[in-house]
């Protein structure tokens, strides 16, 4: 499956990574188009069930990105998020989610180049993992063999 193009759900904080994606766009920095972006007010808004929902509905990868620690628009949202991510990351890795399928990053709204680099990196790693077959719901597996 060399022509596999992954679908990646990206959860971006409105105040930083979302801006970085914008800046990358207006700066004509090229990056792969495999993302479906969900804009969050803050990474603190990210509920772990969003990530599970993405995988269950067949996303091949999930990318969560927010403001650098100390830069939160709401003072401490990303500090709280970080504790949550530590547990979530540990749990999902322990039960068998490939580490490359789930990515966390801090990207400020000025870091368009970093955004471009990580976007490419995420797609590359998720591609290497192959399609998400293990974590999607049974009903979504119907007919998958025909299209794949």
């Amino acid at each position: 499956m060399s022509d596999f193009e992954p679908k990646i759900v990206a959860f971006f904080c409105n105040w930083c990574t979302y801006g970085a994606a914008d800046l990358a766009g207006v700066s004509r920095l090229e990056y792969p188009p495999n993302f479906r972006v969900v804009r969050l007010p803050c990474t603190g808004r990210l509920n772990p069930k969003f990530i599970m929902e993405a995988f269950k509905r067949g996303a091949d990868g999930v990318w969560v990105s927010g403001c650098h620690p100390g830069d939160c628009h709401y003072i401490a949202g990303n500090y709280h998020a970080r504790r949550k991510f530590i547990l979530l990351h540990q749990l999902l890795e322990s039960i068998g989610v490939e580490p490359d399928r789930l990515r966390f990053s801090w990207i400020s709204s000025a870091e368009a180049n970093k955004f471009q680099a990580i976007a490419r990196d995420v797609v590359e790693h998720v591609k290497a993992c192959g399609p998400n077959l293990a974590f999607r719901k049974e009903e979504l597996k119907l007919g998958l063999a025909e299209v794949a």
Binding site: H80, L87, P99, F104, A134, E138
Partner: protein, 317 residues
């Protein structure tokens, strides 16, 4: 070895005193179960009702589950239950001055699945007088079982058997056991992701999603649980393996840094799933990252309600 009846007497005395003094309006404790190898939760509101309170090797359910929203309540609590009760206070589910904890130092509770494995014949009656053994009786037989051999997993590794923050103790203090070394969880690191997933899918393959684990859990007091939400619906109503896995993962996350390993979830599981496996992964992480154990202090905040500016998270780049 204190006789169970002596402990029960102390519990009844305390219960009656608390009701008479008006310190409590209800005492939540255990009474004899209607079938062998069980106890049932019991709410004693009068002195006569207090006489039904017992202590047993089968007092497995965590009664802290009945605390949220209650007023003037006295709770009969093992080490783990007392820690859950502290958690309820810390999480503002019940004010400290509405709660009175009758702590019972506990040498562990019995796993009925292990009893059934030892004694497959139908059990008609259980006779228990001390807290280190009991006698099973059935059609034409009577065997004595040492409790040590049939302890629940979480009881074998319980470091906090004596409720340290109880208002009074109904029995002499007992030493804690060697704490959980999480050897099986640590061993996961050497497996491939596919092997790990196979292990956990196998673990929950029998799950009916009856939510008994959630209902028995003193941490699960949300007015509407995420599994019952319908707009949006986060969990399908069928028994899709991914929905089941999601349920266990999210429940694990919700209980992280709060779980006192009381084992109520595993006790009530009708298909004997080791539900705590998910909690233990997170328990290990919480202990490693934040050196936190829940329920050991009245004013220590749960780790997920606070943060350090230098929390280590190298995986976020």
């Amino acid at each position: 070895m204190p006789a169970l009846e002596d402990v029960a007497k102390k519990i009844r005395e305390s219960a009656k005193r608390l009701l008479a003094e008006g310190r409590a309006e209800v005492v939540v404790g255990y009474r004899r179960g209607t079938i062998p190898l069980t106890t049932a939760p019991f709410f004693a509101r009068t002195a006569e009702e207090c006489d039904q309170l017992v202590w047993s090797n089968f007092a497995r359910i965590n009664l802290a589950n009945y605390l949220p929203g209650r007023k003037k309540v006295a709770l009969v609590a093992k080490g783990c239950d007392a820690r859950s009760a502290v958690g309820q206070v810390v999480e503002n589910q019940i004010p400290r001055d509405e709660l009175y904890v009758i702590g019972v130092p506990c040498t562990g509770m019995v796993d009925n699945a292990l009893v059934a494995a030892k004694e497959p014949r139908p059990i008609r009656e259980v006779v228990e007088t001390t807290d280190d053994s009991f006698t099973l009786k059935g059609e034409g037989y009577s065997v004595e079982v040492r409790k040590e051999e049939v302890l629940r997993r979480n009881c074998r590794t319980c470091a906090h058997r004596t409720p340290k923050l109880a208002d009074e103790l109904a029995a002499p203090e007992v030493p804690g056991a060697t704490p959980d070394d999480f050897a099986d969880i640590k061993a996961l690191a050497s497996k491939t992701p596919a092997e790990r997933l196979a292990h956990f899918k196998d673990l929950i393959k029998d799950c009916l999603r009856c939510y008994a684990c959630r209902n028995a859990c003193p941490l699960c007091y949300c007015p509407i649980c995420f599994v019952d939400e319908t707009r949006p619906q986060w969990l399908g109503k069928s028994n899709d393996p991914m929905d089941t896995l999601t349920f266990h993962l999210l429940r694990g996350l919700h209980c992280s840094g709060r779980c006192t390993s009381c084992g109520a979830c595993e006790t009530v599981c009708p298909v004997n799933i080791k539900v705590r496996e998910f909690n233990r992964i997170l328990e290990l992480t919480v202990q490693k990252e934040w050196q936190y154990e829940p329920g050991l202090s009245w004013d220590q905040k749960p780790p997920l309600t606070m943060f350090q500016t230098d929390d280590a998270a190298e995986f976020i780049k």
